[in-house]
C-alpha cells in the first residue's frame, strides 16, 4: 500500500507492504543507511530514529504507523557544517570506535535531551539502554552531559 510521511523535512511516499519495518523502508527503499540493523527485535537500539520526536526502534515499527508522521534519521539530525549538539559533543569526546551503533545512540540521546534538557547520570542510565559492543559507554556519558551543555548554550 502507499504510505506517505515526511523524512528529514522532505515529503516522501512509498509503495510497500504495510507490515514492513520502517528500518528497511528507510535503508533499502530510501537509501538512508545511517540507521542500522542490529537485532530485528528492538533489543539493541542500533535502528533508533525519531517519529514525531520520539525515539523509536525502527526494526520493530511497521511502516504503516509512520503514515503522516515526521521522521528524522541521523542524516537529518545535523550537517557537517551545522552539527546537532549531540554530534558536536560526540566529536569533542571522540566517542565512536567501530561506529556502527553510534547513530542509534545519538538519536536516543537527542530525543532524551528534548525531554530532559539536563539529564542526571541516573536519567542517562535509565534512558540510554542501547548496546555498544566496543563499549564506548564511558565517553558516551561524558558526551551526553556535554551535549546537554551545548544545547542549552545554543538556546
Amino acid at each position: 500500500m502507499k504510505i506517505s510521511f515526511n523524512i528529514n523535512g522532505q515529503p516522501q511516499s512509498v509503495e510497500v507492504d504495510e507490515k514492513t519495518p520502517l528500518l528497511w523502508v528507510v535503508r533499502d527503499i530510501l537509501d538512508l543507511k545511517g540507521t542500522k540493523f542490529g537485532c530485528g527485535k528492538a533489543a539493541c537500539g542500533a535502528c533508533t530514529l525519531h517519529v514525531n520526536g520520539e525515539a523509536i526502534r525502527s526494526c520493530s515499527f511497521p511502516v504503516k504507523y509512520a503514515e503522516g508522521k515526521e521522521i528524522t534519521t541521523i542524516e537529518g539530525l545535523g550537517t557537517p557544517e551545522k552539527l546537532h549538539p549531540v554530534q558536536q559533543a560526540w566529536m569533542e569526546e571522540v566517542v565512536p570506535q567501530c561506529g556502527y551503533c553510534q547513530p542509534g545512540f545519538m538519536m536516543a540521546t537527542a530525543a532524551l535531551l528534548e525531554k530532559i534538557p539536563n539529564p542526571t547520570d541516573k536519567d542517562i542510565d535509565d534512558n540510554i539502554v542501547n548496546v555498544c559492543r566496543c563499549a564506548t559507554y564511558y565517553r558516551m556519558r561524558k558526551a551526553i552531559h556535554r551535549a546537554a551543555e551545548l544545547k542549552q548554550a545554543n538556546v
Binding site: 540493523f37 570506535q97 567501530c98 548496546v131 559492543r133 566496543c134
Partner: protein, 724 residues
C-alpha cells in the same frame, strides 16, 4: 644501535622463527623433529613473547600511496578499520614521513585487486606495531620519489629541495606533490632514506582525533551492511539451529510461493532463498522445511565435562625447575579451580556480504578481517583463480575476531552465481548467536606451595580449553602436530612471575562440537582471571600486600621491569589499599600480553546484592604511544568489554541449541554498569609502538574478583562473576 639499525638487521631472528613455525609460512621444520615437549616449549616461549612483523608487500610505494593531481594523498590500507583506530595511527605515521598535513591524507581500504593484500589478518593487536617500520620506510621513500620528480620538472637538483605540507620547494621554486607526480607514469623508486627521529614527528605521539570521526558521527554508509550493487537482489540462507548438525535437504515448495521470492538455491551444503527484498528473502527462508542431521543432542553439562583439566590432550608449554615434585604433597600444596563460560562475539553489525559473480569473475563487498582468505575461499567455491576475485573491504561494525571466518561470502557468491545477479546476504541476529565462532569455555586448576617466609616456591597452571587458533584458515593444519597445544587457547596462560624458582603451565586441548575461535584477546581474559585471582589468594595467605607480593615474584629482565612499572603505576595512581573504606574495596591484577604489560585497579561496592564498579585505574606500557587518545579509548573499550564478559555473558547449550539468541537474555554490560571513572596511565618504556587492541582485556576479570574478595571474603571462581 639506532632504532632503524635494530629493526633493519636481517637474520634468522626469533621473530622469523616464530612466523615460519607457528604460522606456517615456509615451514622449514619437520614434524618429527619438533613434536616433543622441549622443542614445543621453546616455540611456545617464542610465541608468548614475540611481536609479529608485518609480512605483506612493503617494497612498492605505489601499492600504498596514490598521489592525486589536487594534492590529496590516498593511503591504501591492507589493515581494516574496525574501531581500533588503525586508520588514524597509520595516517599519523605516514603523514610524518611523507611531510604532508593530516588533512591532505585520506585512508581507504586496499582492495585485493590493488595488490596490497595483508597475508594474515587484521587482528592480534599487531597492525600499528607491525607496520611502524615498513610504513615509515614506504612513506619516506615516496617523499624522496616525489622530490626526484619535482627536481626534474623544476630543473633544480633534488639535494636542494625540501618538503613540507605536501609542497616541494627549493632554488626559489615550489610545486605541490600532485604537480610533481602529475603525468609521471614510471617514476624511479629511490633508495629508502634515513628515517626521522620519532621525537621530531609532528603527528606521531599526539592525541589526534580519529580520521573517521565525521563519517561515524554523521552516519555515513561505510559498513559492509551499507554496501549495495546495481540490480542487486537479497538472499537469505538457512543455517543450522542446532550444534553438531549438517544440512540434508529442504522442502522448498512453500518457499517458492512467497511473494517476492525469485529463486530457491539448493547447494550441497546449504539452501538459500533469493528475493527482491530482504523481507521477502527472510519470509522465503521461514517457509523452507529444512531437514538437519543432528548427530547428537548436546547439553551444557556435557560440554563442561569435556572441558576439564585431565580430560583432553596434555601439553606442557612452560617449565622451570621441579614444580611437579614439589607440588606432589597435598599437605603443603594449595589447589584451586576456576572456570569460564562459552562467550559470544555479539558484535552489532551482522556478518554478510554483497557479491556479484559474472562469468569467471567475482566482486565481494564485505567487512572481513581476512581479505586474503575470504578471496581464496570464494575463488575455491566458484572454481576460478584467486586473482579473478576482488575483495572490497568495508569498515567493520565490530570485529573482535568474528570476521576471521567468512563463510557468508561463499554463500552469497553461490547465490549470485545461481541467479546471475549481485546478491546481498546477511545473517539475522538469531543466526549470529547460534552460528558464532565462540570463545571456548575453560577450566583451570592451579597449584602452589608457599615458603615459610611467604614466597611462592612452586606454582602450576593447568588450563583446559576448546580450540581457538586451530581450525582457522589463519593457522594451517600442519601447525597442529607441530605445536600440539593451541596457541590461542593458552594465550595469557603462562606464569609471568619469572622470579619463582619452579613453575609449569600445562595446556589441555579439547575439540568441541561447535565452532570455537578467536575472541578479542583469545585465552587472555580467562587465563589471567585464573592466574591473577590465584596470585591474590596466595598474597593473602602469605599475609602480604598484593602489590608488593607481585613485585617480589617478577624477574629482573626488561619484560619484568616493564610489568613491575605498570603495576606500580596503577597502584600509585589509584591509591591502592587493602582496607575496605566506606563500603568500597580495591582489587588489582596485571598481565603482559603480546609484549604489552597492563595493570588494572578496580574499586567496587555491593549495592542491592550486585557488584557495582565505581572506578577503574589502568596502567599500560605500549611503548611509543602513536596516539595517546586512541590508546586510552582502546583501554576503556577493553576494560568495559572485558567487564561485560567477566560479569554477565554466558552462552549455554540446551537440548542441542546454543542459547540465548538475542541481546538482553545474552546479558551484557550497558551504560548503567559502566564506571563513572576510568583513569588510564600510559608508560612508554620502549622506543617503538607495541600492541594495544587486546592486552588491556587481560587483568579485568581478576581485578574485579580480587576487589570483591576484600569486600565480602568470598572468592569468585567462575565467570560470569556472581555473588549468589
Amino acid at each position: 644501535m639506532s632504532e632503524q639499525q635494530k629493526t633493519e638487521k636481517k637474520g634468522f631472528s626469533r621473530r622469523k622463527f616464530l612466523i615460519r613455525t607457528s604460522i606456517g609460512v615456509g615451514g622449514a621444520l619437520i614434524i618429527g623433529a619438533v613434536s616433543c615437549n622441549p622443542l614445543r616449549r621453546m616455540i611456545a616461549g617464542f610465541a608468548n613473547e614475540a611481536e609479529l612483523a608485518y609480512n605483506g608487500e612493503t617494497k612498492s610505494p605505489f601499492l600504498w600511496f596514490e598521489i592525486k593531481a589536487d594534492n590529496q594523498i590516498v593511503l591504501h590500507s591492507p589493515k581494516v578499520e574496525m574501531g581500533q583506530g588503525v586508520f588514524t595511527g597509520l595516517s599519523q605515521i605516514a603523514a610524518d614521513e611523507l611531510d604532508v598535513d593530516m588533512e591532505q591524507l585520506k585512508v581507504v581500504h586496499a582492495t585485493t585487486a590493488s595488490g596490497n593484500i595483508d597475508p594474515r589478518s587484521t587482528g592480534g593487536s599487531d597492525s600499528t606495531s607491525g607496520l611502524w617500520q615498513p610504513l615509515r620506510e614506504l612513506a619516506a621513500t615516496t617523499r624522496e620519489m616525489i622530490k626526484q620528480e619535482a627536481a626534474k620538472k623544476m630543473g633544480v637538483d633534488a639535494s636542494q629541495l625540501s618538503t613540507q605540507s605536501g609542497i616541494v620547494s627549493g632554488g626559489g621554486k615550489q610545486m605541490t606533490y600532485g604537480e610533481a607526480m602529475d603525468g609521471v607514469t614510471e617514476p624511479e623508486v629511490p633508495e629508502t632514506p634515513a628515517l626521522k627521529d620519532p621525537k621530531t614527528y609532528k603527528y606521531v605521539g599526539k592525541p589526534i582525533p580519529r580520521v573517521d570521526l565525521v563519517d561515524k558521527v554523521m552516519g555515513a554508509p561505510i559498513f559492509g551492511m551499507d554496501s549495495s550493487m546495481p540490480g542487486m537482489l537479497y538472499g537469505a540462507v538457512a543455517r543450522p539451529p542446532f550444534v553438531d548438525a549438517v544440512f540434508v535437504s529442504a522442502d522448498t515448495s512453500a518457499a517458492k510461493k512467497v511473494e517476492g521470492v525469485v529463486q530457491i538455491v539448493e547447494e550441497e551444503d546449504f539452501v538459500g532463498v533469493v528475493a527482491t527484498s530482504r523481507m521477502a528473502a527472510e519470509a522465503g527462508k521461514r517457509a523452507l522445511k529444512v531437514e538437519w542431521d543432528v548427530k547428537k543432542v548436546w547439553q551444557t553439562s556435557e560440554i563442561e565435562e569435556m572441558v576439564k583439566v585431565g580430560k583432553g590432550k596434555e601439553y606442557v608449554i612452560q617449565k622451570k625447575g621441579g614444580s611437579k615434585r614439589i607440588l606432589n604433597d597435598p599437605e603443603t600444596t594449595i589447589t584451586v579451580e576456576f572456570k569460564s563460560p562459552i562467550g559470544a562475539h555479539a558484535q552489532i553489525e551482522p556478518n554478510g556480504a554483497v557479491v556479484s559473480v559474472e562469468g569467471d569473475k567475482a566482486t565481494v563487498m564485505i567487512a572481513t578481517q581476512v581479505a586474503k582468505y575470504t578471496r581464496g575461499e570464494v575463488a575455491k567455491r566458484l572454481g576460478i583463480p584467486e586473482e579473478n576475485v576482488n575483495i572490497i573491504s568495508t569498515y567493520v561494525g565490530g570485529g573482535f575476531g568474528r570476521r576471521l571466518h567468512t563463510p557468508n561470502a561463499i554463500q552469497a557468491a553461490a547465490l549470485s552465481k545461481a541467479v546471475g545477479k549481485p546478491v546481498k546476504c546477511f545473517f539475522d541476529r538469531k543466526e549470529e548467536f547460534q552460528n558464532d565462532t565462540f570463545r571456548p569455555p575453560t577450566h583451570h586448576v592451579l597449584k602452589a606451595k608457599l615458603t615459610e617466609d611467604g614466597k611462592i616456591e612452586a606454582i602450576e597452571h593447568n588450563v583446559s580449553s576448546g580450540d581457538v587458533a586451530f581450525g582457522s584458515a589463519l593457522v594451517p593444519s600442519i601447525a597442529e602436530p607441530i605445536l600440539g597445544a593451541d596457541i590461542g587457547a593458552w594465550r595469557g596462560g603462562m606464569i609471568q612471575y619469572g622470579a619463582i624458582p619452579n613453575f609449569r603451565t600445562i595446556s589441555w586441548r579439547v575439540k568441541l562440537p561447535f565452532a570455537t575461535s578467536f575472541w578479542r584477546s583469545l585465552g587472555l581474559l580467562a587465563n589471567t582471571f585464573a592466574i591473577e585471582s590465584f596470585i591474590d589468594e596466595l598474597a593473602i595467605k602469605a599475609k602480604k600486600n598484593p602489590v608488593d607480593f607481585r613485585l617480589e615474584h617478577i624477574q629482573d629482565d626488561q619484560r619484568g621491569f616493564r610489568l613491575k612499572e605498570v603495576i606500580k603505576a596503577a597502584a600509585e595512581k589509584a591509591g591502592y589499599q587493602d582496607e575496605v573504606v566506606n563500603g568500597r574495596a580495591m582489587g588489582i591484577a596485571a598481565s603482559t600480553d603480546a609484549s604489552t604489560p597492563c595493570a588494572h585497579v578496580v574499586e567496587v561496592s555491593i549495592e542491592e546484592g550486585e557488584i557495582k564498579i565505581h572506578k577503574i585505574t589502568c596502567a599500560i606500557d605500549p611503548g611509543l604511544a602513536v596516539n595517546p587518545d586512541q590508546i586510552k579509548a582502546q583501554c576503556e573499550g577493553n576494560i568495559l568489554m572485558g567487564m561485560s564478559a567477566a560479569m554477565f555473558e554466558k552462552m549455554e547449550v540446551k537440548d542441542g541449541a546454543l542459547k540465548p539468541t538475542i541481546y538482553g537474555p545474552y546479558r551484557m554490560a550497558l551504560m548503567r554498569h559502566a564506571p563513572k571513572e576510568i583513569d588510564v596511565v600510559i608508560l612508554e618504556n620502549t622506543d617503538k609502538p607495541g600492541p594495544v587492541g587486546e592486552p588491556p582485556m587481560g587483568p579485568i576479570g581478576a581485578a574485579i574478583a580480587n576487589a570483591v574478595f576484600r569486600l565480602t571474603g568470598k572468592r569468585l571462581r567462575e565467570m560470569p562473576l556472581s555473588l549468589a
